[in-house]
Amino acid sequence: MQSSMPRPPEWPLRLLRFFIKKEYLEEIEGDMEEIFYDALEQEQSLPKARRVYILESLRLLRPVLMKNMSGFQPVTQYPMFKNYFKTSFRSLMKNPMSSFINVFGLSVAIGICLLVYTFMEYDYSIDQYHKNKNEVYLATFFATNNGATQQYGTTPRPLGELLRQDFGQVEKMCRVEDRNVVLKYEDNVFHERVRYVDPAFLQMFTFPLKWGAASSLSDLNTIILSEAIAIKYFGDENPVGRDMLMIFNDKIKKTFTVGGVAATFPKTRDIDFNFLINFENIRIAEPAYDINDWSQFQNATLIQVENPSDLKAIELKMEKYRVLQNAAQPDWAITSFAFEPLVTLHERAANIKDGIAHDYNVEGRIGMPIIAIFMIVLACFNYINIAIVSAAKRLKEIGVRKVIGASRIKVVVQFLTENIVVTSLALVMGIALCFFIFLPWFVKFTGWDLELRLLNQNLWLFLLALVFFTGIASGIYPAFYISRFDAVRIFKGSLQFGKKNPLTKVFLGVQLVLACITITAGVVFTQNNHFQNSRSWGYNQKDALYIEVPDKHAFDRMHAAMVRNPDIVSASGSTDHLGRTVSTTILHTPANQSYEVNQFSVDAEYIKTMGLQLVEGRVFRKDAESDKQTLIVNETFVKNLNLDKPLGQIFEIDSVKYEVVGVLKDFHTKDFFSKVRPAVLKLATEENYRYLSMRVKEGNGDETYKALQATWTEIYPEIPFQGGYQEDVWSSYFDSVDRSEQFNKVIASIAVLLASLGLYGLVTLNVSGRVKEFSIRKTLGAGIRNIASVILNQYAVLTIVSLIIGAPVSYWFTKAYLDMLFAYPMPIGYSGIVMALVILVLVLLAVLATQIRKVLKLNPVDGLKVD
């Protein structure tokens, strides 16, 4: 019967029992139940009675009726905190060594966090200064090739104009084409990259101008320069009104008048320009350029809408353009269109192929925060370990505080306060470290113009959060652990401090594991760098030269001049060139599947000249007309298309049938960050030769290079030389590998330093806590072996266990990190881990040895006098 009776809800009762004074509870609980059943008796519904009950319970929470919660005492806390600060400083000064380790460790970690913060802030503010960033969108499309859907940042040529005509919501539209030209001003001639844009470009991207007017872009004969370019050609003077000659190609030249110069670009930019000229000029530069050709793509189309919500309506009506495009270009059939807002364009850039925005920092965005967290955790563990051990020396203080009347919470608050003091001290040092050491170093080697803006509001919020997080994370355990002891037991001296606490050991173990990871990372990154540097390019990049030529005529003249040079073993012409230019094309299998592949149009000598290695079949025959319809493919191609017998297979490109006659060993067309893609080589039409590549006799590279340069200057004094050593085509890649190695090494060294400092502090404290014991041992005749074994034993088991856990964790961690960074990561062997373990054990032994030595030198009498 009892159970069928309606009951008041449970939780308010629990609330009351927690908050209300014990002596009032019985009466109040009774009253509440009576109220509840009264409400029911008055024929109110059960939910209503419950509601009344809950409401009344909450209203009972009044100060008069509530327990006196410690910590909520109305007495002013100020003098107590003053005392905490005082004791904090005193105890810091009393153990200068461990205080230094704590503060230094934390400040290094905070410095690195700040660096990472600055980097992240820089990264997230890229391209965020444009006033219309929320209204400007880049038109992109999705297409499916080789079974995978990819987003592209280019657009069919007619799209921009149609968007502007068809949609009232499109306020402004801007088409973008980038082209290489030669630019001449007085005697200065340079290869340059210009941007053909609609006049709206400068309204959508609100770059302020230093000189001139943005509106001059609507004039077909006007050019707008970036500040750096203006300085390059004109020095510091105002170039507005000056004329520059733009050489599009041999036959077409045009004079432009400088109409404006952009102010210094903000550092946080991705999209920028060197030269802007009106889009219509493309018709002059390329008479064949057909703006209405749906089968062709242009570099970018941007639109600006009044209201971001208008975009939905536009996206819904994109279907008709898709149909038009698919009819014109079935090989690159668009599956759908999408618009990417400028505000998130940089962030998303890694997913958009061929877009005008780039993202070089993907790894950084993942890797840097990991590093920051790692450092903070390492420093916190240092702190925790040292705090627990050094608390042994402060037990009496805690005892006295407790006897005088400090509650446990008070002691916890005291220790946390102390922690915040230490962390704040570390913060000041950390800011200084970051500002004067880390940041300049980082800027120097990455070339990114980061700055620590000390007046930034977000920065201070971040710092505040950092101090509280670090202070509390590192202090909470020691505080609760230390505050637990009974004052009586402390004074009696019967406290077995720290020995029975498994958590202390776990903390030390974690610290060792962290140290293990960092050392492994340092060793493996160094190994990987050598691995990457010595990786085969798939062809012979040594003793090879190349030069870019504008047309066939130039090619012939250069070729004729160079083959006479006795140092040249072979020379060949090509449209594309390894490491410089590669085309992509769509290839159809007999089963009518289509694949996107890299295509190199070369001559018959190219394979020999570049030292590409043939695996199967034959190379192109010289002067054989029939070879015009043959292909040579790479191993990846064979593998990806699952060809058992690649030779003799027929494929179709642009409706022409090609037969595979040879297979080449895989070669890198791009740097090692990207995977080798399926590639085909076919014979180029001579008219399209744009590169002359040469194999030189071993060791004669430099002379031949000079000869090549001289020949070029002789024939074409007006056009700058564009060529080089094949070995240098990826110098920027190897620079970046070097840089990331350097960075990782420095970080790893700092981490190792932190870890060993932590261990040092810990061992020192531990040994000094046992001075009496060692002194007694010594008086009783203990020698070096006894003392050493006592100290070593204490850490032996722990170290072994930590290393057994640490080794696989390190292996996994470094492997994951390398896999993320490199397309062809080094296969990680045991050597890295073994080396790391050896280093770690040596560091540990060195630390222990200093302490053993200290004990041995100690006079037992002094040791016994302690306390």
Binding site: E33, E56, L61
Partner: protein, 112 residues
């Protein structure tokens, strides 16, 4: 007399306690007052008034009987202390005195 630190609401509760005699426990006081005032009161407000007055020495209390409706929990019966009765009486006299001077005031007001 000295200032008694007896609030208006406290005075009402105190008077109810006196009026209810042996029935003066939390819920009954609340019921009685609600009826007289014609408005809803919360247990919290009654309880805090009772506790405060007990602290100030206006009330004494002891446990009464337990009923099933109360889940077997005992009532706490409140009684006014002689001091409280004295204060109440004094307050009443002061008020009465003040009321006596009222007609004249009211008259003055009327003139305006």
């Amino acid at each position: 007399m000295k200032i008694t630190k007896l609030g208006e609401f406290e005075e009402l509760v105190l008077l109810t306690v006196v009026a209810l005699r042996e029935d003066a426990y939390g819920v009954e006081i609340k019921r009685e007052l609600e009826e007289r005032l014609g408005e809803k009161l919360s247990v919290g407000s009654i309880q805090s008034a009772l506790k405060r007055m007990e602290e100030k020495g206006f009330l004494k209390s002891e446990f009464g009987e337990a009923t099933q409706k109360r889940g077997g929990k005992r009532k706490r019966i409140y009684t006014a202390t002689p001091y409280a009765l004295k204060v109440l009486r004094e307050l009443k006299e002061i008020r009465a005195g003040l009321w006596k001077s009222m007609p004249r005031l009211a008259h003055d007001l009327k003139i305006i």
